[in-house]
């Protein structure tokens, strides 16, 4: 059953040996030429599976993976019951607390050199049991560079500004508070400078 139609993949709710699972299928894009299309879909499927697994190992909740089918660009993983942070954000009472927790998890990823690559509030799920899950690592990678970590944080900041603009600043500050708990004050300072630098590179940034 089609569970969710995404911009690059469809999620199917299926049964896997009696267990409810999600099959994430990266579908063909007719607008891209075949060669480029398959190459992108294959590498993203592979990378995503690898990153989901690595993140889980270091204590960042991600769906458990049952099978990877690289040829058919599909990942079979746990079905998590809950809501996207994007949907919950506007009526959360404990926004700051949740954002701090999100920040801690990003800190964990980054201190283990894992880059999410697409940090938006659509890619964070609050499960029914309160656990914060990270999904959709398709654009992620491994990197120790401050630049890549800075871009990751810049992305969540921009995602907040474009969809939750009423309390974007407050939420981003809370994320950084949680982040600091994991990475320490010195690293936080460095990354803040980096984020400013990344923003200043954008076209027509007001100086």
């Amino acid at each position: 059953m089609l569970f969710k139609k995404g911009a690059e993949a469809n999620l199917y709710l299926e049964t896997w040996y009696g267990k409810k699972i999600i099959r994430k299928y990266r579908y063909k894009k007719a607008y891209r030429i075949e060669e480029l299309d398959f190459q992108l879909r294959r590498s993203r499927t592979f990378h995503e599976a690898k990153l989901l697994l690595e993140a889980r190992k270091i204590g960042v909740p991600t769906p458990f993976i049952y099978m990877i089918d690289v040829k058919n660009t599909s990942i079979y993983m746990d079905y998590i019951e809950g809501n996207q942070l994007k949907k919950d954000m506007n009526h959360l009472i404990n926004k700051n607390l949740i954002c701090e927790k999100v920040g801690e998890k990003i800190g964990l990823l980054h201190s283990n050199d894992i880059i999410h690559g697409d940090l938006t509030t659509s890619n964070i799920i609050i499960a029914k049991n309160g656990i914060i899950y990270f999904i959709d690592f398709g654009l992620g990678g491994f990197s120790s560079s401050l630049e890549d970590k800075g871009v990751d944080l810049h992305l969540i900041k921009k995602a907040l500004e474009s969809t939750h603009y009423k309390f974007a600043d407050e939420c981003f500050d809370a994320i950084l508070t949680g982040y600091k708990r994991i990475v320490g004050a010195e690293f936080l300072q460095n990354i803040k400078v980096k984020i400013t630098e990344i923003e200043s590179r954008g076209r027509y940034f007001q100086r």
Binding site: E8, K29, T120, L155, K158, R203
Partner: protein, 329 residues
């Protein structure tokens, strides 16, 4: 019925357009600075070009049969973003008309004007806008009183990337149309870096790799084909995600690179897959022009967004997401 005269001078084009509040263009004239082969737009030379042709264009507008100069109610100019020296030429013309005709002066954001003229001519209501030209590449959508930038280039715009590549390949400026023509002769894909970071994209690595591969002996046609496939692929992918994220049902392509047929085709396929309507701005108002400034000036005039002369300094780095938009609910 109100009439507005708009002046555009952000980069290589000096344009003057006159439009009425029904959206009818009464007059549109322009002169474009063309750099010598192997060069780009030299800001000072472009500004000198604008100064040289300013009187001629004004005269042409004055001699129009459609209206009298004294029928004009407002004068608008592109206040930014753009090349400072070029913007100043337009500002000087606008201030002069403001004083001599004794009509209100309006400062218009160039990017906003590209979107608004696109919406007018395509009759689009609330699109995801793909605004890409020699100076800008942004994915924009309206939300909560402002146009929000969902994705943009982290370094150079697509048009600039195409221009610099074609300059390296010894093609005449502007490079986009030449690259498009050569790309049609090939279907051999050469691998190039595909850089999407979240909702943003980057073209500088692609540019360097393409130049290196060309120098290493790859055929120019193959490189043109591959550059288009990769860079447009990145742009369409981010547009698709903005469309999915905002759940809007229109896509509007605007700006100078909108003329590229392959880009149009890719966006159309993507939009249709999502059940969205694809619009492309008509050629006459796709590139930089005065009519779009005039039209946006009219929209702003309804909210009396008039400038005093000492508020009319140019804003070379003015972002679209800084502006409150009162005319959209």
């Amino acid at each position: 019925m109100k009439i507005c005269l708009g002046i555009e001078s952000t980069a290589h084009t000096l344009g003057i357009g006159v439009i009425n509040s029904e959206g009818k263009i009464l007059k549109q004239v322009q002169k474009t600075f063309i750099p010598e082969i192997g060069g780009g737009i030299h800001p000072r030379k472009a500004a000198e070009h604008h100064f040289k042709y300013a009187r001629e264009l004004i005269k042409e507008v004055k001699n129009s049969n459609n209206f009298n100069l004294k029928d004009i109610n407002y004068v608008a100019f592109s206040q930014g973003p753009g090349l400072g020296v070029c913007l100043r030429v337009g500002a000087v013309i606008a201030r002069t008309l403001h004083q001599t005709l004794n009509i209100p002066l309006i400062g218009v954001n160039h990017c906003l004007a590209h979107l608004e003229i696109g919406k007018l001519f395509c009759d689009a209501k609330d699109p995801i806008c793909v605004y890409t030209s020699g100076g800008n590449t942004q994915i924009i959508g309206f939300d909560g009183g402002r146009y929000r930038v969902f994705g943009e280039t982290l370094d150079i715009p697509i048009g600039n990337m195409l221009d610099v590549f074609s300059r390296e390949a010894h093609l005449q400026h502007p490079g986009g149309p030449k690259v498009e023509k050569l790309a049609k002769l090939s279907n051999k894909f050469v691998e190039l870096p595909y850089t999407v970071k979240g909702m943003d994209f980057s073209f500088s690595g692609l540019l360097t790799a393409a130049i290196n591969k060309l120098e290493a002996g790859e055929k120019l046609e193959d490189m043109c084909f591959s550059i288009q496939e990769v860079s447009f692929g990145m742009l369409v992918e981010v547009t698709e995600r903005a469309l999915a994220h905002t759940e809007k049902n229109e896509v509007l392509l605007t700006g100078g690179v909108a003329a590229n047929l392959r880009l149009q085709e890719m966006l159309k396929i993507m939009a249709e897959e999502h059940g969205a309507t694809f619009y492309v701005v008509p050629k006459q108002v796709a590139g930089d022009n005065g009519a779009m400034i005039a039209w946006t000036g009219l929209l702003q005039a309804n909210y009396r967004q008039f400038l005093k002369i000492d508020e009319s300094n140019v804003l070379p780095k003015w972002r679209i997401d800084e502006i409150e938009i009162p005319w959209i609910n």
